[in-house]
Structures are given as C-alpha cells and as structure tokens.
Symmetry: C2
C-alpha cells in the first residue's frame, strides 16, 4: 500500500478536480490510500454524495493556501498551516510516502528541499519532468529548475538518478543519458559542461551517449537529458511556450474563415490525437528526485485524470523502490530514520 498526500487546494481546478482525481485513483488501484490535505469543509463538500472506499481516504485539515503569486521561500516559512507545508510534513514524518500538488511550483520546489529533505548524500534534488517527444515517447529533463548554479558533481547525480527513474518507472532497459549542450562535439560547451562531460563518460552505471542540442530534446534522441537547473528551466519553458504559441496560432487559423472552420472540424480527431501524443501528463506529474519520500508536481491546470495518474505514479515509485535503488546506484548509505 502506498500512502499519498494530495494537495486539495493547489492549482486552477481545486478542489473539485483534485478530489475527483483522488477518487478515480482509489477506484483504479486497491494499493493506494489518499490523504486529502486542505480546508476540511471544502473537501467534505466535494466528497459529499460520492462513493469511495472510506478506509483508504482521509482528510487532513490545513487552513491556509499558498497562492501562485506568493514568494516561495517566505510562504513556506510563514504559511505553516498551508496545504503544501502540511502535506509535505506528512511525508517528512513518514505518515505518507508521497505528496502530489498542482499548486505553486516555486513553493513545491522549495518545500521539497527544506521540509521533505534530501536523501543523505544527495546534494541537490532536481525537478524532473517528462518532456513529450515526436515519436510519441518521452524524455526526462533534469534539473528543470529546482536549483540554479549547480556544480559538475550535482549533474553527475542528476544523471544517475534520472537513469534509475527512467529504468524503473518507465521500464526503459538502458536509458540513453545525454547532457544538454550547444553542440555535439566533446570540446563544445560552457565551463560546467566541459567539466561534467568526462565525469559522465567515465561513469560505469549509466549509458552516456554524449551531448544533445536543445533542438533535439523533443526529437527523442535521449531518454534522460541532464542540465544545470537554470538551463533546464529555459529548455522546459521554451518548449511549453512554443507549443502554447503554435496551438494558439493554429486555433486562430482554424476560425479564420468558413472554409477553415469546416476543415478544422474534419481534422479534429486527427489533431486531438496529435495533441494527446504531445502531452506527458498521461504519465502523471513531474517528480523531484533525491528526496526522502516523493514529491510530484502536476500542471497548475491539472484535471482529475492527471491527478489520478500522478497518484498511480507514486505507487510505481514506491513499488519499484526507486529511492532505495538511487541510494544503491549512487553508493550512498541506507537512510536512518
């Protein structure tokens, strides 16, 4: 049984879609229990009249909400009774195994490090979203912005953790690990990449394939793309921004004439399939790796399906003992609690 705390107040569609996602996950898997963290009355109102296995669902009251505009560090420190802080403390104290939130990215990334805390020996806990690829697959991008100004040894740990994750969570036998770079040749790169490259090359337990340029990330040449957090954030956000811009422009084109409207109608099924192919949320949310427990961030606009997938992803993480495997692969001692 994996015990998952879920932020009932986080994201654009809270609490309705969050609660709906939890109930769906409970229905789909008998090995999951959920603690809904948030304003008890609001959560109860959503649960009212719904059918679910009450023995696997609890409510943990939290009276405050960290808003998207709140400064991350200050809000984690000051909003002690917020759903994010309370939910993360459940993981920290071992009351749950994981925490899922569609709330403020900044607060989740800060809270993961300072409340849940890192596995002993892990120096940075990277944010590791799956990026959709042209071939229908995905690639893990880490660090996508949990930390900035990382050093070479941090990137080495990212590569190892990413490799373990893609193997155990996604079932890829020998994940191809690449470092994000401005060119493919070994002598290319900034100081950080030049120093990190030979370290990755010499690692016996990863399948390092060299550099990958940013324009190749969505082409699926690598299963794991390693980057310093500022860089990774730039790549992730550029991909998201460009996709959003192009879809917006396409939509405008569709509505530009009667002819185009009819054409769009006929194309709709094919286009919907394309859009669902270019969407990694079917695999759940983006984990922070290297924490004592698991923190998963979903999109802010996540609906019930994504929340449900994120909860089921926590089950995989737990069952595959990914944290134990990370400790083993990185040669770290077992965690004392």
């Amino acid at each position: 049984m994996v015990r998952v705390a879920v932020d009932a107040m986080g994201g654009d569609n809270a609490p309705a879609e969050i609660v709906a996602g939890c109930l769906r996950a409970l229905g789909k898997s008998g090995d999951v229990s959920v603690a809904l963290v948030g304003r008890e009355d609001a959560v109860r109102a959503e649960l009212d009249g719904k059918k679910y296995d009450g023995s696997r669902l609890s409510i943990v009251n939290a009276t405050q909400v960290i808003e998207t505009g709140d400064a991350p560090v200050a809000s984690i420190r000051e909003k002690r009774d917020s759903s994010i802080v309370v939910g993360m403390k459940l993981v920290r104290t071992g009351k749950t195994d994981a925490f899922v939130s569609a709330g403020s990215s900044g607060a989740i990334l800060v809270g993961g490090q300072v409340i849940v805390g890192r596995i002993r020996g892990i120096e940075r806990a990277p944010f590791a979203p799956l990026v959709p690829c042209e071939n229908g697959g995905v690639t893990l991008l880490l660090d996508a912005g949990a930390n900035v100004d990382a050093r070479p040894m941090h990137l080495v740990q990212f590569a190892q953790m990413g490799s373990v994750y893609m193997k155990l969570a996604m079932g890829i036998e020998r994940p191809r690990v690449a470092i994000l770079n401005v060119g493919l040749e070994e002598e290319k790169g900034n100081a950080l990449v030049k120093e990190t490259y030979p370290l990755l090359k010499s690692l016996p337990n990863i399948n390092f394939i060299g550099s990958v340029e940013a324009r190749e990330v969505t082409h699926g040449y690598a299963d794991v793309c390693v980057a310093e957090g500022f860089t990774g954030n730039m790549v992730l956000k550029s991909i998201e921004g460009t996709a959003s811009t192009l879809l917006h422009m396409m939509k405008k084109a569709f509505y530009s004439s009667t002819r185009s409207k009819i054409g769009a109608l006929m194309l709709k099924p094919a286009l919907l399939k394309t859009l669902s192919d270019f969407d990694a949320s079917k695999f759940g949310g983006a984990p922070m790796l290297g924490l004592k427990g698991l923190v998963v961030k979903t999109h802010g606009n996540a609906k019930a399906t994504e929340i449900c997938n994120a909860i089921l992803q926590c089950r995989t993480f737990h069952e595959e003992r990914i944290n134990e495997q990370i400790q083993k692969e990185l040669g770290l001692g077992a965690e004392e609690n």
Copy 2:
C-alpha cells in the same frame, strides 16, 4: 550604396538559391552591390543567361568550402581559401560593408570574432536572431550562442546593442529590454542574472522591463531578450525544435485518414498564413552585433527570398548607421581604421 559579400557556397541550396537571392536583391534595390564569394565556375554557371546589373555584381573566387561537419575553429584557421574566410576578409579590409552566409553556424560565429573582429570596447559579439512571436511580431534574442560563460558587463552590452538594433533596424521607438530568467521576481535567478539585473536597471539609455521567463519569449512581452550565450542557445534551439516537432506531428495527423486529408486541404490557406507568421526569415537573417562591419547568418536551408531579405537588411544596417549608434550609446570612441 551598401556593398555586401555573399557566401555563394553556404547552406543546403547553394549556389542556385544564393545566386537567385542576390539577383533579386539587386533588382529590388539600386543601393546594393553584391560580391558573390565562392567557386567562380559554379557561380558563373548560375549567372549564365540571367539578366542583372553587372556593374553592381562581382565574383570573388574562393576554392574551398567549410562544411557543416567541420570543426569551426580549425576550419577558419585552415581553410584560408574558403568562401566564409574570404568573404569575411572582404569586410575586415573594408572592401565590403557586410557578409551574408547560410553556411556553418559555428564557423560564421568564430570567423565573425576572429576575422572581422569586434568594435573597440565591445568585449563579446553576440549572435542576435529574431524570434517570431504569437502576435505576429518578433523579439531579438541575444546572445543566442556566439559565446558562452559571459559576465555581467557583457550582458549589459548585449542589452544596449540589442536596443539600438531593434530601434534602428526594426523601427521600435523604445524597445522593451528584458533578461531571461527562471522567474519574474527581482530576487530570482542564478548568480549571473542576480548580478546583471541591477546593472540593467540602472542603465539610463535602455527601457528595461525586468525578467522574462523562457515560456514568454514567443508571447512577445519584450522586444529584446538578453541572455548569456549558452542560455540563449538553449532557448533558441528549443523553440526551433518544438516548432519542427509539432509541425512534423501535425503533418502526420493531416495524412492519417481520408477525412483528415480533405480537412487539411481546406485548412491549407489558413495554416500557410500561420506558418508564415511564425517565421522571422521575412526580416532577413540573424546578425552578429558589435563587429567592425556586419555579419548576417541565414538559415542553412535558406532560399532566394531569405537571402534577398538578408541583403536588404544589410542596407538598413548601413543606412541607419547602426554601428556608429552602438558606439555612441555604449560610450565607445570612434573606430580608427
């Protein structure tokens, strides 16, 4: 009269489309002269039978070609009779005002710095492509990868040069200048951004609007996006890669069924307009700023239209005296020659 050297051998469509682009530019503007640099026999064969003003077109023989796979620094040093080296020397020696090439990006960026050379007082010459935006406009991204590991004062110069360029070349009165960052708050960022931010804020001669996240670049919130070269390259290439991935997936969707094929046919005019809106090549190529003269890089797959636009862009650069204005805005002494 602006004198433009054009790399006749560079890019996927050389020399045919390059020569065609030159002839088109000569036809469109009486104030342009072109020196076609490359293998004389190949260039002559393309010119054969075409009508043009011979007094404004010359051929400069260059027997070698730098291929995309060649190592940039080595090829600039060793292929002394390549079209890129010969063309850049024409700028360096004042025989032409500008050099346009669709050839190897790496060689162009290296050659710009070491052959053409920087304006005295300019410490880094950034690569400055225009990125298409959702609203049909463009934003200047610099440095998009000519240098890596820049320091704060380099970014300050990028901001000033970018601002001058967008004002004079694109006619934007008070260009909004932003720094690429992982968040909008002033305390966000890596060490470089945190150190650069207050410097930009205190500059009297630019309209600094603060940070811009990578996902907002294509949304057109800024006219100039300043970044360290590794970061800028990641953003540029991620945007290009995502656009290419999505278009590839859309095309596949269009051909997936009879119904979708008919729909695509009806949508074609509207979609073609969208694609041309999301394409900055109508403005020409990407300049390197801060050089003694002008170097413009077009896409490797540039056709005659883009080459023609790049040549006309050189005319604007020359007529608007952009280099003189850069020296003035940056408080640099006039260049002695």
